[in-house]
Symmetry: D2
């Protein structure tokens, strides 16, 4: 059994990690920290877990994190970078679900996240945990930077096209829609039910922190810088991201075949038949990414539709997928739940 700890488990990625780890056949959940809620049974905060998780929140000081085999950080940005070195030194694997280790360019990271980085050397060491791209590098890593939710949906959508050199990388568009859980379990007016339901809006059009992460990933795939316009939208669903991607084809290509071939052996990526339209609920509560690819009117514009559950493949599920790779387990162990629909 893998002994797993969670730092900061009071948000939505935290409760989702708890749901997945509690059902994982090879994991023993050892400790979960929250300074603010120390002493409170986890199931008191999250009644959906009643009867299934007996742990209470601990302070970080009390928590036996160094005795764990793996520690997940489900914390705000800037926390993991303060505590990771000590855990790595103790031989603990670390998977950070926040953004501390995602961006290799430290100056760029500081600009977007508004703080100095505490350990640039660990950024250099960290492996970006998108298994469909970096599967080979993950098993040997000590530290995984788990990708953001938008970056997961967008990168998986563009990946086959970029690897094939099939599109003009100078003008790509990612029009993305996220459920409100993506904003986290924080008390804020803008995400109240009476504000966010029965309404739709774009946000952060001048600039969003996931833009540099996505660009970094796309540039790696393309082997060169890319021009990307990224517009996120808040949409009245609890979970789900729908990325609608636009690019111009450089040559006439059978995009359906390209996608099917690229993802033929990926357990968690499902390429739909031609002319399909994935809906977010078709992946709800699962670690799947479903993708359809179109060339409207047979023209040179390619449109990719990519859906994930932002809390699973976009966060906690992908973290467990990375854990499985780190410990040599089947990649889908504990992640085979069928999506919940309706």
């Amino acid at each position: 059994m893998i002994k797993a700890g969670i730092v900061g488990g009071t948000g939505y990625t935290g409760v989702e990690l708890l749901r997945l780890l509690a059902q994982h056949p090879n994991v023993q959940l050892t400790t979960i920290t929250s300074r603010k809620e120390a002493g409170m049974p986890v199931a008191d905060m999250f009644p959906s877990l009643r009867g299934r998780i007996a742990l209470a929140f601990s302070t970080p000081e009390e928590a036996p994190l160094k005795d764990c085999d793996v520690v997940f950080f489900a914390t705000p940005n800037g926390v993991a970078m303060q505590q990771t070195r000590e855990l790595l030194d103790a031989g603990v694997k670390v998977i950070d679900l926040a953004a501390d280790f995602r961006i290799q360019d430290i100056a760029e990271w500081s600009k977007w996240y508004g703080m100095e980085h505490a350990c640039p050397d660990l950024v250099a060491e960290a492996v970006y945990g998108l298994p469909e791209v970096n599967r080979a590098s993950i098993p040997g890593a000590r530290l995984i930077a788990n990708p953001g939710c938008y970056p997961t949906a967008v990168q998986l959508g563009f990946l086959p096209l970029l690897e094939a050199g099939a599109i003009d990388t100078a003008w790509m568009v990612a029009d993305c829609k996220s459920g409100v859980s993506g904003a986290g379990r924080k008390a804020e007016v803008a995400t109240l039910f009476a504000e966010a339901s029965d309404s739709f809006k774009a946000y952060a059009v001048p600039g969003h922190r996931h833009w540099p992460e996505i660009r970094q990933g796309l540039a790696r795939m393309a082997g060169q810088d890319v021009g990307l316009t990224f517009v996120p939208h808040l949409t009245p669903l609890i979970r789900g991201i729908h990325a609608t991607l636009y690019a111009r084809l450089r040559r006439d290509i059978d995009v359906q075949t390209l996608f099917e071939a690229r993802y033929a052996n990926e357990y968690f990526v499902d390429v739909l038949p031609a002319k399909s339209h994935p809906e977010t609920r078709s992946v709800r509560a699962s670690n799947l990414c479903r993708i359809a690819v179109h060339r409207p009117q047979g023209g040179d514009t390619v449109v990719v539709l990519s859906v994930i559950d932002n809390l699973v493949k976009g966060a906690a599920g992908q973290a467990v997928q990375n854990m499985n790779l780190l410990f040599g387990l089947p990649e889908h162990e504990g992640l085979t739940q069928i999506p919940v629909a309706p």
Copy 2:
């Protein structure tokens, strides 16, 4: 492996049965019928099942139902009663998720369901599949009448009070709220998104088919007729039933202890601590019923709050629970999924 078949799998109870049975370790899904959709792969209708269920819908004639160990009817009312005898004669166990075998008084049934009953003798034989009440009778049965969704939530909420003779049975109130999936996957204006979202209404106040079913169950528990007012409401959620129950106590009693004692050994019934308020999402996509019990201002009125997922404990999950009992499996086999929240 239990060979299972489904008759009529194109509705919400059908897809939920498919989700549960496909993840059940002891079940092999053998056949699923739909005359209208014969030939269509199940996963084409329900994309959430892509990659997990390879079956296509068959016509009832082609389907090897008699080779099954158990057949689930997820059909409109009046279908199961036409086909059950033949299956029973062939040694197949039958679990009807519709109402054909739920009401022992045949005249009453005909009045509410608007048709003659095809096999009153089988009604007499059928066991009402509410395991928390009838656990002993289920294993030996050939035919299970799976309870309705409202009846499950209401009966489990009143059960401890009635068994203890603690309440006045002459004036009980069940004010129930259901998610829209309870109306089924039928093309109707009243349940369109633009009609049913951001609105709330009662319906069927003059009379609802679940009223006689609930009364029959409560009367059995009470050992006498009961006076029950039942008002169902349509509420803008996909899944979930919340029953708010009102009754007058006959004597001063510790209702919290009563409920905890009654359900101490029930895997699927969770009595919350005093002063709690269960929310429907705390049981979403699970077979659980969570219950809280109150005496506002310490008075003689008892208020019970009972929540279930109408498609799971209120339909498909309870059917699988009954199947487990019929075949001697642990009652929770294949039903241990943790609720999905948020």
Copy 3:
């Protein structure tokens, strides 16, 4: 033109007052205060008002409240009682949308609202602004206690029955469902979209502040104390209250005729035909209350269904209705908007 001021206009009742007053033909909106947002144009906070309201928020000190003909308090409980006397002394009429003047029993008020009352004499003077009950007293008043949202829906539903002495007042039940805007525009986790959507729950079953207000009103109608169980529920709609009321008839009575007669001349109360079920959206964004009354199976239990928009008839609209009465205008002036559906 009536010069109107608003104290505390940053919540949902505030923005709704703004919407209604800006469209009222006899009102000039003079000032609106918010200490926290002083200087910010109102339309920057509420973009729906862009181009229609040029005012900015002022500090209470700067605001020319004493020059107003009427001041509305859309503040948290406990604010109006501090500022009302000074305004009354200056000849300004006051309408408090909070609870400071609703409950005549000062000790009871203090118990439920957790503070000492600043001006019990003004409570004694205040008129409870439910025009369908107190229409005669309102025009001569200086100070109006605008009713709560639940109390409006429940009192209008029970009114004809109590006035007629038709029901047993010892055991009445009000099972109420409210949209989430009823919780206010406050940053809180429990009313986040990802918490409150696709879920349903009761709350405050041990005791809710509207319970003593409702009981006081019902007792006045009945001429004696009443036994009332009140259970509020949070339901995933933005606006709307649905009250489902239960009582036992003392005598055989034609409830449909009773209700139609009582409300025949009420502009804002619409009694639906027999066997109807009002939906909350049928009153959305309007000052209407629609009511249906049932006797299921012709028994002695009467079920009343009463719907309002909690922000209009349950708050801002009723306040404007009271203002119209105070200033001798037609009661429906500025309140004739047709409900918005779908």
Copy 4:
């Protein structure tokens, strides 16, 4: 008073026309037809209209359509073209809210709508009723082709850029999101609450009927053919369209100033301050279009965010705006309702 008739008033554009016309100070609603519902009072179908509209549905034969000054067609595509000539000959103005007269290229129309056109000469005569573009032509017209919902949002968003020749017309993208009411009040599984809520999907990516209509409009503005990719999405709101538009600037230009100048005198188009993000609820139940324009990171990509209420500015409200122009009334007469938010 303008005598107005409605043909086919049982859908969402119908009820919205009824809501607006019943509150219009210069309109007398004379007749409304529905063959299927003939005899039923309008308010029985739409309870939100109880007490405000006394009309019942008539058969088309009985309805005094020729005595009207104006007739609105709120019918499925293909109906208006059968009945318009007779009305025009009788001196009645016609406003078609469907698509029969929107597309000048008859062959193109037939291809997308799957039928022969009954009166190509009337298509040639019809004026496309987008007042912000065609205001001068509308007053003298007999027949108005009221624009589609997506076309309204997209054309108003691209208009300033195209008139100024500021963007590359070869590769424009319109990523559009619509509330579910846009699919109409038809009994269909795909738009059931339990299908369409808490989910998000694109649809009709291979081709949507609004694509040729939008292209026609944009080409007129540009003075040349345009390359447009149009992807509509179904989003869980009742009302609202959000168009996110992408284009490449040909030259460095102050887009904020450009938009503000173009729409300075438009009553119904509101250009938000720089860096804004309009939300659909800020125009809910109003005839407004709110627009923001961005150049992310100051690059050469322009992003326009354009929101309307699909049933008002996208249908019934725009039709009333056209009626006002046809009859020499102030353009905003009867259309000054403040948006309903929250």
